[in-house]
Symmetry: D2
Subunit: 337 residues, 4 copies
Amino acid sequence: MLIVMKHGASQKNEDKVVEYIKTRGFQAHISKGDVHTVIGAVGGKIIDPRDIELLDGVKEVIKITSSYKLVSRVFQKKDTIIEINGEKFGGKNIGIIAGPCTIESEEQIMECAKALSKMGVKIIRGGAFKPRTSPYAFQGLGEEGLILIRKAADKYNLAVTSEIMEISQIPLFEKYVDILQIGARNMQNFNLLKEVSHVKKPIILKRGLSATIEEWLMAAEYLMAGGNREIILCERGIRTFETTTRNTLDLCAIPVVKKLSHLPIIIDPSHGTGLRDKIYPMSMASVAAGCDGLIIEVHNNPERAICDGAQSLYPKQFKELYDKLKVLAPVCDKVIS
Amino acid sequence: MLIVMKHGASQKNEDKVVEYIKTRGFQAHISKGDVHTVIGAVGGKIIDPRDIELLDGVKEVIKITSSYKLVSRVFQKKDTIIEINGEKFGGKNIGIIAGPCTIESEEQIMECAKALSKMGVKIIRGGAFKPRTSPYAFQGLGEEGLILIRKAADKYNLAVTSEIMEISQIPLFEKYVDILQIGARNMQNFNLLKEVSHVKKPIILKRGLSATIEEWLMAAEYLMAGGNREIILCERGIRTFETTTRNTLDLCAIPVVKKLSHLPIIIDPSHGTGLRDKIYPMSMASVAAGCDGLIIEVHNNPERAICDGAQSLYPKQFKELYDKLKVLAPVCDKVIS
Amino acid sequence: MLIVMKHGASQKNEDKVVEYIKTRGFQAHISKGDVHTVIGAVGGKIIDPRDIELLDGVKEVIKITSSYKLVSRVFQKKDTIIEINGEKFGGKNIGIIAGPCTIESEEQIMECAKALSKMGVKIIRGGAFKPRTSPYAFQGLGEEGLILIRKAADKYNLAVTSEIMEISQIPLFEKYVDILQIGARNMQNFNLLKEVSHVKKPIILKRGLSATIEEWLMAAEYLMAGGNREIILCERGIRTFETTTRNTLDLCAIPVVKKLSHLPIIIDPSHGTGLRDKIYPMSMASVAAGCDGLIIEVHNNPERAICDGAQSLYPKQFKELYDKLKVLAPVCDKVIS
Amino acid sequence: MLIVMKHGASQKNEDKVVEYIKTRGFQAHISKGDVHTVIGAVGGKIIDPRDIELLDGVKEVIKITSSYKLVSRVFQKKDTIIEINGEKFGGKNIGIIAGPCTIESEEQIMECAKALSKMGVKIIRGGAFKPRTSPYAFQGLGEEGLILIRKAADKYNLAVTSEIMEISQIPLFEKYVDILQIGARNMQNFNLLKEVSHVKKPIILKRGLSATIEEWLMAAEYLMAGGNREIILCERGIRTFETTTRNTLDLCAIPVVKKLSHLPIIIDPSHGTGLRDKIYPMSMASVAAGCDGLIIEVHNNPERAICDGAQSLYPKQFKELYDKLKVLAPVCDKVIS
């Protein structure tokens, strides 16, 4: 932590700051510039920088050490590679996840699973518990949905990923699901993060709508601190002033995250744009930007989908995209298995 | 719902749209303009507008009816007034809540309660379970904290408000707390909202960092739909590009919310600005803008506070502000009891 | 400037950084922490911090000295007070400016001037050159508009303020206008700032829609660096994700600016909210937050206004607000003359 | 324009709205729903929707026709293709522009021109007039800079693009420059747009930092309305809450713009990210998303650059990227000549 004193701060001000940080376990290194004196505070515990900013004569306090450790590239230089049902995320590998927004019926999920499996997809997605802005909107099939997607996945040799919304759902997810998803709205539901961190399954952690990359990595740190090392970060669009698209997909998060962390990062172009015809270009762009995977909404009959049909691809469209991505990936020094 | 057809859309396109909405229970009202034909869809169930936007020839789909009902001024014209321990929120009344960010020790909370009670405050705040960005930061005293604040409140005849973070904490909050707070990060934790809606105590619902006013009212709708009618909305700053203050306090939310909803709205200038010296001007501004209450962080010794001391007032500062607000309120046609 | 080296950066990395800054005229002060070494760079010229961030082993570079000087409280401790036609801005004074968005006709501006003057207003606003999003929208009366507002002002003993959009308009503004306005869209039109800085009249500098407070003060620095010292800053709402109001009025900018700078800051609640019924509460809130003035759109017949009638007050409404503000100001330790 | 009446609005309210729009030249089409009556207003002139929103009984007013015409795909179905010095933008073509942020000296610009020309680049960029946040920062070489870049371009058979900041600079740009750039800060400098629209040279119009896509297209409409048809739109990052990168590059603007408009859209990954090591992935992503061109900062000696060296590629890095893009483009059904 660096404490920058105001131009013209008195020696007394400086002494008080030094005393303040010493009583909190820090050592003080003073360096006097032309305009500002800077006090380096070294070795103490976590402290709120604003507490010092309010002392007389202090201009600014600057934190240096990143708050995340386990998720950092400093802690682990090598890319984390996560393998699920033969599909790999991280390193050179791009993993693909596809499926409907919501599990609607046995027929629907079976048809989806069949179509996707036939194309070579190895992981299916599908929501059983749905976070909905309105209390009057369809809230998902619940456990019945999980049973149905498990059944479909088993029949077609797929792994299952689905969003968990609450601690009490953990036993259900341990039973039916292979990869847990933490949704954007729960990215800072810290109690959920703590409990889920003990589950022995990979976790997809979606970025919150207005979460900085630092906050997102801190949320991943909660999961790693609790013992789970198989975390896949998922960018799904941030909230900005632009309203043409539902969210603004922040693709530069890919190289930024890959520099800061060893964890794989995947993109959700369906939620990130909210529009079917934007999924193709944004999936292509994600791969070209170096992503480690994609999670794409595909529905056997999007026009009849209960939820988010407008951002779901038709199976035929997905097939074309999938084939194209397999051509694109090697050009970008990546592999889609 | 209004469906605007593209300039040059064919009769066939139009027919398909009409058929589509009819099979979903809507009636169609067609009106032909110079440039665009508009189809009014009336009487059907909830439908995702984007599903129709993807049909050929459709330019745009516009939703008309607000999604919230119970929280709306249309549903209830008169201001909801909520009274707790003699303190009123709503109508002409401005209710005041004060106390430390976090419950740290018996001594601390007793001192705070004593000082506040002496000034005439009737509701004390204090966190026992703390949402922290870092897993390594102090997470609150938990149940012990609730016991301590209850004890202090009972001694000094105060009501207690504290943040609930998880469904399993409900029994504790029913036992120790008078007003439950839902924090900004949990504003769209829909499972929590549903469960808390059955608790027979008033709820303070904070606005999410990047929640629109419509989403915030929809979250309140979850609470009302579940049976709770004593909801206090709390604006605490939104996330914008400006970094001088921690968040940007959206004071215009006060007149906006009061026009749309009958629920009281209070302001949290401590979190809204993140800086002690901004609490005074923003509290004054909130009252002048017509707010129904304030929740302010006050600590007996902010320099020693474990958490958010930098945005806490000294008791003496709070006293000055409180006295000033009592002079200001009547000028703004409001009352602080 | 402080250069924070990465954990594990080599001595060679460090040496290279030191050499780099020395060849650019800086002295280096090294302080070694537990985790990070920090190099203080003192005394050199302006340098882009990112140039150093790209050197091997560098974690982060932190600028310390603010880039603005003349507008800073460090440069001038005392509030700048600007007096125009007997109306004062700054210090304890709240100055009021009112008038229509656009000058439409002699009749309209005469009626407005008459009504406002009768109420005691001393400065009238009115646009002659209008920045319009669409090339097909009314672009203002131009010089004719300035002639008309000058005539009206002279008749009713008012000062005139109007927005200048281009360098070539300076002679016109020198002739007809008492206070020049730089609009939000031109806040970083640096050529305009440079030329206008030589005009010997006060300037109202509006904050850009997405300008940080630092950028805004830097724009004011352009004006002061050019020799103009009579600058009034004007907050008029920033762009955020919230769409209920046209912009989000950042009232906390008032105490923030007053701490950083000696310049007066006024609020434009008409553009800041875009809605007539929000002008009253936001004007009240601005005064309570400590603003030095208000600029409010008033039209003799808002329903017939060519432009922005929806955010203009009726003269009668303005009168009520004006009277109320005069009661409010002393409660907030301010004066409306 | 559609006017939605409130639930429970009276017949009198409705009549008043109908009368209001009729006196402004509109025809009224009334359609009564279960909850809301909707009045379609057809055929009148431009009107501010908020004027109607303030009438009694009105819930909401919805504009239908886009405000831009000439830039719209409705006006022109076929992609506009712009060719400059053999380099094409639009349709299947990806045009490349490269060069330093700022023209610093004859030696520098000659070296850059030589290196780029050797690689096959046909258009060089370089700033002579620089928009700088601080009045104390280097403001560019001015006309001398334009003379130098022209000389270099002529020697190496390149076309020149440079940013114009002010109307009075038009003659200089007509003399020395082949493509005019309008910078992000001037996107809504409407006077500049109007004057530049008469220049008979292509224009690159950068998106403002906080401009919506609609506003950006409206700014292009100013240029087309003035007679210029050779407009290249340039996305260069928008301002959001995320601070890791200088701006957030909105790559989804590519498919959005290409659907709404026939104009080519290029990407500026240098300003869009602000960091050299993000240029490669974001350039790749831009091409994969379907862009019509790239403008990239390349400096012969970035470490010594006066300005923005941190976001400039070394010539060698640019060469690698350029070669890679030529491999990538055909995979994305595009051509780099």
